[in-house]
Amino acid sequence: MGLDIRFPLGLMFLVTGGLMTVYGFFTRGSAIYQKSLGDNLNIEWGIVMFLFGALMWYLGKRQSWKNDPVNPRPWERPQYPH
């Protein structure tokens, strides 16, 4: 298939991890973290997810669309001598 799954997977983790990190940054020191025993899980885990997303996105982008079955193959193109 033309779409490399690592591209959307990476993008989703970039966005989700990014959202969590930003939210965690603005809520640092808040009472909501008593639940997680004082750990700001949003920042800590958000960064991990963001980095994972970046790695997947990079790997996926490198491969993506390389073999796109929708683009006509050489013998399907109009200028191909028949």
């Binding site: 298939m1 033309g2 779409l3 799954i5 959307p8 997977l9 993008l11 989703m12 983790f13 966005v15 989700t16 959202l19 969590m20 939210y23 965690g24 809520t27 808040s30 909501i32 973290y33 639940k35 997680s36 025993l37 750990d39 899980l41 949003n42 800590e44 885990w45 958000g46 997810m49 994972f52 079955p69 929708v70």
Partner: protein, 591 residues
Amino acid sequence: MTLTFIDWLIMLVYFVFVLGIGFTLKRYMRTSNDFFLAGRSIPAWICGLAFISANLGAQEVIGMGASGAKYGIATSHFYWIGAVPAMVFVGIFMMPFYYGSKARSVPEYLRLRFDEKTRAVNAFSFAIMTVFSSGISMYAMALLIQTLGLFHGIIPDQYIFHVSVLLSAVIVLAYIFLGGLTSAIYNEVLQFFLIVAGFAPLVWVGLKNVGGWHGIQQRLPGPMTHSWQGMTHANTNPLGVEWFGLVMGLGFVLSFGYWCTDFLVVQRAMAANSEESARRVPLIAAIPKMFFPFLVILPGLIAVSIPVAQHAAQNHLVGASTAGTSLGIIPQKVNPVSGAPMLDDKGQPVYNYDLAIPALLLHYFPSGILGLGLTALLASFMSGMAGNVTAFNTVWTYDIYQSYINKRATDAHYLMMGRIATVGGILLSIAAAYAATSFNNIMDALQLVFSFVNAPLFATFLLGMFWKRTTGHGAFSGLILGTSAALLHHGLTLPQDAAPGLHGAWIKLVHTYPSDMAQNFWTAIVAFSVNLLVTVAISLMTKPRPEPELVGLVYSLTPKPVEEHLAWWQKPASLAIAVLVLLVILNLVFA
């Protein structure tokens, strides 16, 4: 439960990606081969993750968490004994026949190897089963959303169930309708990573809270934290089954019957881009599968280890008791009408173990990461549904529609039929979900019947693939008599403390098992043995097919896969050995 905007936003991001993948893939769906088999073009690691993700539905995540809370680490037998060895077997020995025979589905393999009637039994029972499983998944999801009060305050309470069913149906329908099996597989990969991302921090915080594995061991009784302790006798371990029943019933008959013959999982491997990849798919899947007990069973153990005092009376769950006792953070079941805590026949409290993982999420996760945890939960429900729906549309189109209704249509017609079958499968699932709300006993009875149909299956495949003398008449009679034997065994036996009826002994009580798990495992053993004996006997009495017709379908007549071009570490056998060594180590560590 109150969610903040960030929780909703995280859930929304997930749904945008899920549907986005469907829309992006739509343009690649040009033939039925693209739609049903993902064009046989997916790399092994993607299929491998989809292979376990398709199985990681509602029953799995919620059920294994519940079982962890109830029985302890012995639940890991369902992974270490009841899945991984079978996954290794299907990869090494069976995949060359599924993939190499060019069959498009498991029932189609049965037709190539045996005959039309054997295929028909498998295709019809499988199609009905997938629709019901998907419906039960949908029902469980809607029930959980209702219990958690996810939409509480946004939509009126009496509509929450209906909206949940409808939403999950529309989303799953959309992405499969657009992108077929590829879309389902890609989304299963997203779901896999989400489940890991959502549950790993939960386990981490939970373990920190209860003092790690050592802390759990100190708080819980010995058999809860040792998977093999007391296994010599059924009465000395929490599962209520002895080692032989466990290893033969779960580890051999049921597990090989599911992982090696169920098209829901095998379809993922058949989408791989080469035979070598297809063989590696279950092996790659086995690695994360081995460690999944730490993500889905451990939370159950953590949930019962948390000191009750710490879990203040404040309980967020609709329908959970705060007045009654609780076990860790597992709430007691309450009577939905009177609101009073429920007690069993002996006056003991009844705990709602199914809420182990959801309760733990609410206990430890602040807003933000709570949205992620809930997304992971929803993702697992949807992957289970989607797995069933894609298997259903393929079996319906190739094994029922093309075989019995319309044999000579164009490929475009079958592609369209696949899309119609997707809509039909979803509609039937919705019907099944509603049937489950009103006739709970009928659903239990149906699941029981399916277990009778599945129990003998592996004997048919084992003989079909490894004994060239096996005939179609033999296979067919074996299947029918194997299922009948399962039915008969159930009708004559009963678990301890159960009343005759749905639990067994509806013919006559001849034998009592120490637990329903033991009864279940022994039913499978009986069904398998009867199938094996009947298939062998009838095959010997009937005329086998000429050998040249069986090339590519039977082990002894098929050239062994060529592996010279692979380095030692790329060979499926090396991967299999590594997986098995890890498995032994895990069993020893938690013995």
